[in-house]
């Protein structure tokens, strides 16, 4: 019988500091040590994995790379608790443990032919980044791509260089924002939900995926509906404290669903049926 608690060995290929300030985010690119593990670790955008530091513990982190990026699996991690702090101490070449992938994923096959809108805030861009890379690597399968992303300050923006580069591309529209005015910032200043209303993306033949702080998600959902998006066109991801990743340890439930195995991806329609999700 497979032991789902037994993690695989992974090596850190590179570490990139994404943000500065009091909530440091770093992106860790990992490579599984074992060849057969590498081949069997098949994931899709939206899925998560348990990252661990032996002797310290494990944390469930969403995968920020796309399965089309074969060379490594990337995780963007905010320094927060005991485990994420220990991971932040690690450097390229250091080992970490990895198990997964866990949970469901964004229905990217169903979305073929549609326009994709992502609305992210802060570290919430991590799973959205996986979608963006996947869609860009399968560009002809999808329609227009709009990326709305914001953070408190420029120091808190993840994937800056990459997004600035995307801004120059013809086949994708990037709308960045920060909450408070800063010198040298000529893009939008204000909260992400307001930026969304300002840009007014068309709901026609589109899906919208949002991820970020709970309060941002709440207003983004409201504004998407106001823009004419149907409930069935809206997706988000949830997070909760997790220990096992396989629906046994109990704590990540939102009503009858377990975020680790039934989530983390939920459509607005599903969320509405979960009073504990508190979206309305």
């Amino acid at each position: 019988m497979i032991n789902p608690y037994l993690p695989h060995q992974a090596k850190i290929q590179s570490v990139k500091q994404e943000t500065t300030g009091d909530r440091v985010i770093k992106t860790f690119k990992l490579v599984l040590e074992d060849n057969s593990c590498r081949e069997s670790f098949l994931y899709k955008p939206g899925q998560c994995a348990m990252l661990g530091v032996p002797g310290v513990g494990e944390s469930m982190i969403s995968i920020t790379s796309s399965p089309t990026q074969k060379e490594s699996i990337a995780f963007s991690i905010m320094r927060m608790g005991k485990v994420t702090s220990a991971i932040h101490e690690k450097e390229a070449g250091d080992p970490l443990t990895l198990r997964g992938p866990y949970g469901n994923h964004f229905p990217l096959d169903e979305w073929k032919g549609k326009n994709i809108l992502t609305v992210g805030g802060g570290i919430g861009q991590a799973p959205l980044s996986s979608i963006i890379h996947y869609v860009l690597d399968n560009r002809t399968d999808y329609g227009a791509i709009d990326i709305i992303y914001g953070a408190r300050t420029t120091a808190d923006l993840c994937y800056k260089e990459e997004l600035f580069e995307m801004e120059r591309r013809e086949d994708i529209r990037v709308h960045l924002s920060i909450d408070v005015r800063e010198e040298g910032w000529d893009r939008y200043v204000g909260f992400v939900p307001s930026n969304l209303l300002r840009i007014k993306p068309s709901p026609e033949n589109a899906v919208a995926i949002t991820c970020g702080p709970p309060v941002m998600i709440k207003f983004v959902l409201k504004n998407l509906l106001q823009l004419g998006f149907a409930e069935s066109q809206i997706y988000t991801t949830l997070e909760n404290r997790m220990k096992c990743g396989i629906g046994k340890c109990g704590r990540c439930n939102v009503g009858p669903v377990y975020v680790c195995k039934d989530g983390p991806v939920f459509s607005y329609v599903q969320l509405k049926s979960l009073p504990e999700a508190h979206i309305s």
Binding site: L6, E239, C244, C249, G250
Partner: protein, 339 residues
């Protein structure tokens, strides 16, 4: 089904005869009893009333090492079977045995838990019929009974001077075979007596509830202030969940002693505030009201929706042992009568 008679004063001898098994049974610890590995059956104490922990802990230990790490930080392949010998658990309350069925629906399906499954398949459960159910027992309201055979390999009925043993499974038969010399065919009197104790035990159940109205009302009561009122007495300890034969939630922690690290899982309780606390400080269930509500929904709605059975067997421990007198039955009745 096979059945046998066993003289009461031969019970200890019967247990001693079981050579190829490791015996687990309740033993006295202070003024309560607890299931433990028993090397000398003389120590077996069949006081099932003062038994805060059900036999659950034998298949789902409170602390279980998932694996140790070697010096390089690599996990060492664990031996989750623990013992090569079969385990024979004697003196299980029928309600607790039904509890395993509820845990099975989570632990044996949909990515099975190897630690639990290994112990489960290696364990023979021998029940003891509850001839005198306790004041807060309500198993009969949840599809069980003091004489339920569900989940058991064999069941002992106390017929005064002797036991009548019913054997339900091949696994149970295998074990009993070894003690054949102590067993007899049950006499007609024993069978009559057994029927009498079964009938009388069911009549002795004093408490009951109906879940129909509860299920209906749970559809509409989620945001009701009833949960705050209900949780007001609760002191957020772990007694109701730890002593529950169907609660299975756990925490995973890495622990290090003198540089030797291991990953352990330890029972956890949804009644603790820390249970759902995010590292960021956000807590989706920050107060006692949300936590008690979650526990009630999990046991009496979600479990029924997901697995077709309530997450409760009516053992009454959470009522008897609650320091604040939270009464599960009264709480369910107040849900039922809320609208």
């Amino acid at each position: 089904m096979e059945n046998y008679g066993l003289k009461k004063d031969s019970l200890k001898e019967f247990l001693k005869t079981l050579q190829d098994v490791e015996l687990f049974a309740p033993v006295r610890r202070g003024d309560v009893t607890a299931f433990e590995h028993v090397s000398d059956p003389e120590g077996v104490a069949l006081d099932l009333e003062h038994q805060p922990l059900p036999a659950k802990k034998l298949l789902l230990p409170q602390t279980e090492i998932l694996f140790a790490f070697d010096k390089k930080g690599l996990p060492k392949e664990p031996d989750f079977r623990g013992t090569k010998k079969k385990r024979f658990v004697f003196g299980v309350r029928p309600c607790d045995a039904r509890g395993f069925g509820i845990i099975d629906s989570v632990y044996e399906k949909d990515c099975p838990d190897p630690y639990y499954v290994a112990k489960r398949s290696n364990t023979v459960l021998a029940g003891l019929q509850c001839s005198h159910p306790f004041p807060n027992c309500f198993c009969t309201s949840l599809g069980g009974s003091p004489s339920s055979s569900e989940g058991l390999d064999l069941l002992f009925f106390d017929c005064g001077g002797s036991y009548l043993i019913e054997v339900y499974t091949e696994k149970g038969q295998q074990v009993v075979k070894e003690a054949q010399s102590l067993l007899s065919s049950p006499s007609a009197e024993q069978i009559t007596e057994k029927e009498k104790v079964v009938r009388e035990a069911a009549e002795r159940i004093q408490r009951s509830l109906s879940l129909d109205g509860v299920l209906r009302n749970m559809e509409i009561l989620f945001e009701d202030p009833i949960w705050g009122d209900m949780a007001r007495k609760c002191i957020s300890c772990g007694i109701c969940t730890y002593t529950c034969p169907t609660c299975y939630c756990f925490d995973i922690q890495d622990e290090k002693i003198q540089g030797k690290a291991k990953r352990v899982r330890i029972w956890d309780s949804c009644m603790f505030g820390e249970y759902t606390l995010h590292a960021s400080g956000h807590n989706p269930r920050p107060t006692r009201a949300e936590r008690l509500r979650n526990r009630m929904y999990h046991k009496f709605k979600h479990n029924i929706d997901l697995h077709g059975i309530a997450g409760c067997v009516g053992c009454g421990r959470c009522i008897t042992l609650c320091p604040a007198n939270e009464d599960l039955i009264e709480n369910l009745q107040s849900i039922e009568s809320a609208r």
